[in-house]
């Protein structure tokens, strides 16, 4: 009888044992890094490059909003890394977050700000550190016609064709409007990221494609200026080219 009672107590203790916390870190760390190039060259602010017509061009400012940066797992679920970020493409752009382990099959992000945030939310309501705040936008917000600049490229080129003339001809693509919002999905070979692992996904941003690709070519003699308003067709082309600049290396 005494043995039975002891057995019962032992059994009950075993059955009532509280679940143990798994040891170590249960999350994985996901890093998305953009490798920035201009063709075969590294992308460097103030560097001189060539356009499709072999004319010299200088890139001074190359920034853009990305939003809804996510990894897509094998079940088509999203692991969101960032809601919004203002990317300076000259400045080693990287985003990371900790989330549950998963088998990743694609990367997805949008160029620009979703319509619901683009013109309907007052930027003064965000804290200064937020990329959509007045300070965080750092000029990437139009005040005369409420909305964010999704993509901004400023530079100069030499239309004379000379190799010695100063670069004085302006290039300015300031693109931003709900119709210019783009979403990019990049498929990758399945990657299983385990708990405690840190895994870096690389995306290539080739700024040369902001000027030409297989479908379109910017002739900087005529295709040099858009603030979206005043030249929406050029803004649409600039945004299409910009979208084509992202790929898996």
């Amino acid at each position: 009888m005494g043995a039975c009672a002891m057995m019962l107590v032992l059994t009950q203790c075993s059955a009532c044992k509280e679940p143990q916390e798994p040891e170590g870190n249960t999350d994985a760390t996901y890093i998305v890094h953009w490798i920035t190039k201009y063709g075969n060259d590294d992308l460097i602010q103030g560097q001189t490059y060539r356009d499709a017509f072999n004319r010299r061009l200088l890139l001074e400012d190359l920034r853009g909003y990305i939003s809804q940066v996510a990894l897509i797992d094998e079940n088509d679920s999203s692991i969101v890394l960032k809601d919004f970020a203002l990317m300076n493409w000259f400045a080693d752009p990287t985003i990371s977050t900790a989330a549950q382990p998963a088998k990743i099959k694609a990367l997805r992000f949008s160029l620009g700000i979703p319509a619901v945030y683009n013109t309907s939310v007052d930027p003064t309501t965000y804290p200064n550190a937020h990329p959509l705040s007045v300070a965080g936008a750092a000029g990437m917000f139009w005040t005369w016609n409420t909305g964010y600049i999704f993509y901004q490229l400023n530079g100069k080129c030499d239309l004379s064709g000379s190799e010695n003339q100063p670069l004085i001809d302006p290039i300015a693509y300031h693109c931003g409007d709900d119709t210019l919002f783009r979403t990019i999905t990049l498929d990758i070979a399945d990657v299983t990221v385990k708990a405690g692992d840190a895994y870096q996904f690389n995306i290539l941003f080739d700024a040369q494609k902001c000027f030409w690709n297989d479908q379109d070519t910017m002739d900087l003699d005529v295709d040099y200026l858009t603030h979206t308003s005043g030249n929406l067709p050029l803004a649409l082309r600039a945004m299409d080219l910009y979208q084509s600049a992202f790929s898996i290396p």
Partner: protein, 337 residues
């Protein structure tokens, strides 16, 4: 104990010196609509209190908001000129010339959209445009100047009105509420037409009849009581540098269309049209008498030659002058604190 009380009184007197009150009134302000208009709709996140209005008033006249420290909102919006500046186009910080004529700020509480192409929907958002624009106040988007954020009156009023330190959130809301408080509905016209306490002169009456006639159709767009319908039209101005509404809509059909400006206080707000191309009201009347300067497909077809006589034009001028609200432009509550 007596020493403490005395010290407290002295401290209070010192900190409350000048005409700026130490405390601000958090009770809700009411719109004085003179029985002409309904109360305007107000945003949920900007309580229309006396405190916020007074804070906005102080900011409106504060040159420290600008990049050169010399330009305030009032530099281009002076009360005596019905909150305009008498310039063709506004001159901003460091003498930068703008590209549009400064509009009046009266009665903006009822405006469904701001800017001449209507691209901004609220007064709160509109405030960012002049504050940050390079050709206007050239303020820093990164942070407000320390001279402002450390100003003790601003600190106190901002925390009281908005429960936070002075930042852009507070600045644009306070400025919006000050502008909402700028109401001008007390002209001779109002006393004749809405209150029947005065009568038009014969010339004013003839001008009013022409103005609202089926031939002239002025009231179709300059619709009383605010003398605007907030619509966008090409009226046939020859200037083609500014694309107007097309900048916002991207539609070619909107090229050279601009928002109908109010005609209230119009005699105080020369020069006229979006670039201030016309110096005198008489010239504006002549512009409409000619049916505009240029004729394009998108020009509004109601702008047609009128064949007014010299007397008609004088009568129209007299009528337009009846829209001046002399009480409003002398209202000391809208002068600097």
């Amino acid at each position: 104990m007596k020493g403490l009380v005395l010290a407290s009184i002295i401290l209070l007197l010192v900190s409350c010196q000048s005409s700026i009150p130490c405390d601000c009134d958090l009770s809700p302000a009411k719109f004085r609509t003179f029985g002409i208009l309904k109360q305007p709709q107000l945003p949920a996140d900007n309580p229309f209190t006396f405190c916020s209005i007074e804070l906005g008033r102080k900011l409106f006249y504060d040159t420290r908001l600008s990049g050169d420290g010399k330009t305030s909102c009032a530099s281009c919006h002076a009360l005596v000129m019905a909150f305009t500046d008498g310039q063709s186009t506004a001159k901003g910080a460091h003498g930068e010339l703008g590209n549009r004529n400064s509009p009046t700020l009266f009665n903006l509480a009822w405006s469904p959209h701001l800017m001449m192409e209507g691209g901004v929907k609220t007064l709160e958002l509109q405030g960012l445009a002049p504050l940050l624009a390079q050709h206007e106040m050239m303020g820093s988007a990164l942070e407000l100047p320390a001279a402002l954020t450390q100003d003790s009156t601003y600190q106190q009023w901002s925390r009281k009105a908005y429960h936070r330190p002075l930042d852009y959130f507070v600045v644009v809301r306070a400025l919006a509420n000050f502008q909402r408080s700028l109401i001008s509905l007390d002209s001779h016209f109002d006393r004749v037409v809405y209150h029947q306490t005065e009568t038009f002169t014969e010339s004013e009456e003839r001008g009013w009849q022409i103005f609202k006639s089926a031939k002239a159709q002025c009231t179709q767009c300059h619709t009383p009581p605010l003398f605007t319908d907030y619509g966008f039209y090409d009226i046939g101005i020859s200037d083609t540098l500014d694309q107007g509404k097309e900048r916002e809509s991207y539609h070619l059909r909107d090229r050279y269309k601009f928002k109908t400006p109010t005609l209230r206080n119009i005699e105080l707000t020369p020069p006229y049209f979006h670039h201030g191309q016309v110096d005198h009201l008489e010239a504006v009347i002549e512009f409409y008498n000619q049916g505009g300067e240029v004729h394009r497909p998108q020009k509004d077809n109601r702008i047609q030659p009128q064949h007014w006589t010299e007397q008609d034009k004088k009568d129209l001028l007299a009528f337009l002058q009846s829209l001046t609200d002399w009480n409003a432009v002398q209202n000391k509550r809208w002068l600097p604190l």
